[in-house]
């Protein structure tokens, strides 16, 4: 594990921590939405350093974790077609489908490839004009511009054998879904820095107002997280509910206009089923009609029977902040990174995998 002395500036980290300890007078439950932040909080031992009153719960901000079983099955179904090269990010390979994952489909002969970028998939399509190349396009708002641009580049380059299987998710509707759960105990949020780099911060004002909760746009490094938590705690203790921006060195209130334009050009908002959270209204992006020839769902007309999630996986409870990974009876026994029951055990940004990999850090918390 890492210790405070290894942080970017240990003295500042200690100051933030001291101030958090000084400021807290009662228990608070704070959700970090972004899986990258979850990973960083666990990995860097921040959960041990916080006062016991500060209860961090881990939100649905891992795109790998919230991609529904039925979409995984559709990706595998496409990969197993003779003429298709199915590509995606490495994280998607081991996410369990209803009978197998993409890695197993590949081992059985399907042409499945790991790519760093959807733009590489467009190049791959240009290199293989006799094949259909499908990019399994998952992600939050941070990744949406890249997937949108892949479609725009394919169009500009005249690459017609390229399409995307899109399962894009949006943060603000997920925050709403978490807050609307009757059992919700969350009192404040750390919003995701890189999502806001693209989208800006204006979408979060209505949530702060509607639910009367503090939100702080926060980066993912240890110092960012400590400062973000301090800013949230100060608001909570003062009875305030404001939108603040800890990550202002990167995030501008207006976001990246060119990126937002690319998203809006290619995608439109749709209802979407999240793994573990059921369908959330207006929480996803689908390819617009004007770009339907780049939409694998329409291009290949996939019809698969609906499938049920594994009932042994409690990822929905975890992503709503109602349970922690070690509350699950299968954590570390029936469910491990090498044989996950549900997606949060797969990705390094999934809460369960983060807890599993850094168990020794967490045991210190329990002690």
């Amino acid at each position: 594990m890492k210790y405070l002395s290894e942080y970017r500036d240990p003295d500042v980290a200690q100051q933030y921590l001291d101030e958090i300890h000084r400021s807290v007078t009662r228990p608070w439950t704070i959700m970090e939405v972004c899986g990258g932040q979850t990973h960083s909080l666990v990995r860097n031992g921040i959960l041990n350093l916080l006062p016991k009153e500060v209860n961090m719960v881990h939100g649905p901000g891992c795109p790998v974790c919230v991609t529904s079983l039925s979409i995984i099955d559709k990706a595998i179904h496409l990969a197993e077609r003779d003429n298709i090269i199915l590509c995606s990010f490495g994280d998607m390979m081991r996410v369990p489908g209803s009978s197998r994952n993409l890695q197993e489909a590949k081992a059985a002969g399907a042409d499945v490839r790991i790519l760093y970028s959807p733009l590489e998939a467009v190049n791959l399509a240009a290199q293989n004009p006799d094949k259909e190349v499908v990019f399994f396009a998952v992600g939050f708002e941070t990744t949406a511009p890249a997937n949108a641009l892949s479609v725009l580049h394919a169009k500009r380059r005249g690459v017609d054998n390229y399409s995307i299987l899109s399962n894009h998710v949006l943060v603000p509707p997920a925050i709403k879904a978490v807050m609307d759960d009757p059992e919700c105990r969350i009192q404040a949020f750390l919003a995701a820095g890189h999502v806001c780099t693209i989208m800006g911060t204006s979408e979060y004002h209505p949530l702060v107002e509607q639910y009367g909760i503090p939100m702080v746009v926060t980066g993912f490094e240890p110092l960012d997280l400590l400062q973000g938590i301090l800013m949230v705690v100060k608001q909570l203790e003062a009875g305030e509910a404001k939108l603040e921006n800890q990550y202002s060195r990167i995030v501008r209130p207006e976001g990246n206009e060119a990126a937002v334009n690319a998203i809006q050009e290619v995608f439109e908002i749709t209802d979407l089923t999240w793994r573990g959270l059921a369908e959330i209204p207006e929480s996803g992006l689908r390819v617009r009609n004007e770009y339907s020839k780049y939409d694998a769902m329409r291009k290949f007309g996939i019809n698969l029977a609906p499938v049920q999630e594994n009932p042994d996986c409690i990822s929905g409870q975890i992503m709503k902040g109602l349970a922690k990974p070690h509350d699950c009876p299968n954590f570390g026994t029936k469910c491990k990174p090498e044989m996950p029951l549900g997606a949060p055990m797969v990705s390094s940004e999934g809460a369960c995998a983060a807890y599993y990999h850094f168990q020794t850090v967490l045991e210190e918390i329990a002690a």
Binding site: P63, L115, S117, L119, A121, R157, H194, E221, A258
Partner: protein, 102 residues
């Protein structure tokens, strides 16, 4: 896969009648293609935050170096080398030339 990784722009090229702006970016010596479509103001020598092949923000050098160091420590730069994609002949030539420059 959700984090953006800072890198330095080594060269810029305009493709398809200027409709696509591409760059070779050095991530601590690892060269990758990325598009500058979202940061049209970026120039050679600038540092940019790149997420899955798309530059999303220009950052200053010190910020870029510190963030890169942190991401490398936590293994989040692995995705740069985790790709089955094999560049075509032209791209490979460009990469060799750039490596000579360094």
């Amino acid at each position: 896969m959700c984090l953006a990784i800072p890198g330095k722009i080594k060269s810029i090229r305009h493709e398809y009648d200027g409709q696509i702006k591409m760059a070779k970016i050095s991530f601590g010596g690892i060269l990758k293609d990325a598009t500058l479509d979202m940061v049209p103001q970026a120039e050679v020598g600038d540092y940019v935050l790149v997420h899955v092949g798309v530059a999303i923000s220009v950052v200053d050098e010190e910020e870029a170096k510190q963030v890169f160091k942190y991401l490398e420590e936590i293994g989040e730069t692995d995705e740069l080398t985790e790709s089955d994609y094999v560049p075509g002949q032209v791209e490979r030539g460009e990469i060799r030339n750039l490596l000579k420059d360094e």
